[in-house]
């Protein structure tokens, strides 16, 4: 298929890309495992339920909800609020003493219809939070996230090079061969090859979509920098209006601009992930696929008029579509269980690869590759 020297180059790429990323990939596989079932694990502990009211009871206005939350923290500002997808008729109002420091943000849960405070979800701590932080950014913020993205790229490189070296290794073997009776090393080599190639497409998809996710913050900031300057230009040097348009009017305007779409989040003027002069109303569709596709509606904070309601650019769209394919949370509980089992298989592939490297040094495998180079040995004769 390839000449011996090319095979050796691919083999070295497989060896080194895997060795560098294996520890981090093991961490990602282990922390990812409970995250697959996050909804199920967290479901029993969702806090105080909203009041039971007759169906069709209208919602209070956003401004009433914000006022209820701010009554507890009069000195703080609201960067955003969102409808809690796990708690019926509940809006989470975010509050912070410093808009520029997202880490100080905390939440107050408000009943959407009575505008009464329900409870204050504590800061995210505990097992799930540790898993999530480790999985996304190693407790190291954006640099940690980008570092894991790099490890993900190495993982993808090791998958590609693994496929290439799979060819010569399997030339004289039937698909699925597992030689149990010879050496322990050969047994694990066969299992590594089998489990690796059988789950390859899944691992590649989860790997690539994971890498894409690590880029979401920088890409969003890039998009924000493209969209906002022209919209903010007319306000250059002018002070903020004394009286902002009510948040409810921004919500109503967004609903009129994009009827039929669900609204998930309203970002308030001054939020660093929004605009200093606009409300940002995030909307999405309601099918499995379109629920991933968000359209932000920008509403002028002074006039309450919609100034822009366009879908995200292709690079953010790609990240949106990639998310369910990384999480495996879009096909019911059976798919989640399958996701977890495939994750376990990947752990076996990683560990067996590590094992093969540890016991092989100076042994048959290297000799065999040297043999390829001399053009002498048939590949299955170990």
């Amino acid at each position: 298929m390839f000449d011996a020297r090319t095979i050796r180059a691919w083999y070295l790429l497989h060896k080194w890309s895997s060795l560098v990323c294996t520890v981090f990939l093991l961490l990602l596989c282990l922390t990812g495992l409970p995250l697959i079932f996050r909804d199920e694990i967290e479901a029993p502990d969702r806090g105080v339920a909203a009041a039971v009211l007759p169906q069709g009871t209208p919602d209070a206005t956003l401004d009433q909800m914000v006022a209820a939350a701010r009554q507890r923290y009069p000195a703080e500002s609201v960067p955003y609020l969102y409808w809690d997808e796990h708690r019926e008729h509940t809006v989470q109002v975010a509050l912070t003493p410093d808009l520029q420091d997202p880490r100080r943000t905390h939440r107050v849960a408000v009943d959407a219809r009575t505008a009464r405070v329900l409870d204050e979800p504590g800061p995210d701590r505990g097992f799930m939070h540790v898993m999530l932080e480790l999985h996304i950014e190693l407790f190291a913020g954006l640099p940690g996230e980008l570092f894991l993205g790099l490890m993900g790229l190495l993982f993808v490189a090791s998958l590609v090079s693994g496929v290439v070296v799979y060819g010569p290794f399997m030339r004289r073997l039937d698909f699925g061969t597992v030689r149990l009776e010879r050496s322990r090393r050969l047994r694990w080599l066969d299992l590594h090859n089998l489990l690796g190639v059988v789950t390859l497409a899944w691992a590649a998809i989860v790997g690539v979509t994971g890498v894409m996710n690590t880029l979401s913050t920088p890409l969003f900031l890039m998009y924000q920098r493209q969209v906002l300057p022209p919209l903010l230009a007319p306000y250059q040097g002018k002070p903020m209006p004394e009286q902002l348009a009510p948040a409810q009017s921004a919500l109503d305007a967004a609903r009129r601009a994009l009827p039929g779409r669900e609204i998930t989040t309203v970002s308030f003027p001054g939020n660093p992930f929004g605009s200093p002069r606009h409300y940002l109303v995030w909307t999405h569709g309601s099918t499995v696929l379109t629920s991933e596709l968000y359209t932000p509606v920008l509403v002028d904070a002074g006039s309450g008029q919609v100034v822009r309601a366009q879908g995200l650019p292709w690079y953010l769209r790609a990240i949106e579509v990639s998310r369910p394919l990384h999480f495996g949370d879009y096909g019911g509980l059976p798919l989640k269980i399958i996701w977890a089992l495939l994750d376990l298989v990947t752990i076996v592939v990683l560990l067996s690869g590590l094992y093969l490297w540890l016991i092989k040094r100076g042994s048959a495998l290297e000799a065999r590759l040297a043999g390829f180079e001399r053009g002498a040995m048939p590949p299955e004769a170990v």
């Binding site: 597992v178 190639v197 499995v288 394919l325 298989v345």
Partner: protein
């Protein structure tokens, strides 16, 4: 004398035929569930369970064969 080698292309096809089919099955399975339709979800579950079953089947077959 070694026996005559089949062409490299025939080799590649023989080695990669099964992985390629499995890859296609996984990709179509994942895409099917994105539509959210109930029968297609079933297809997705079956498609994604196939590699898992193969992970069990081939080692099991080898172990049974050894006992005989």
């Amino acid at each position: 004398m070694p026996r005559r080698e089949p062409g490299p292309r025939a080799d590649a096809w023989r080695v990669f035929r099964a992985p390629l089919l499995l890859g296609l099955l996984i990709v179509t399975g994942l895409a099917a569930a994105l539509t959210g339709e109930e029968p297609l979800r079933w297809f997705c579950w079956l498609a994604l369970a196939t590699p898992l079953l193969l992970c069990l089947w081939y080692p099991l077959r080898a172990a049974l064969g050894r006992q005989r």
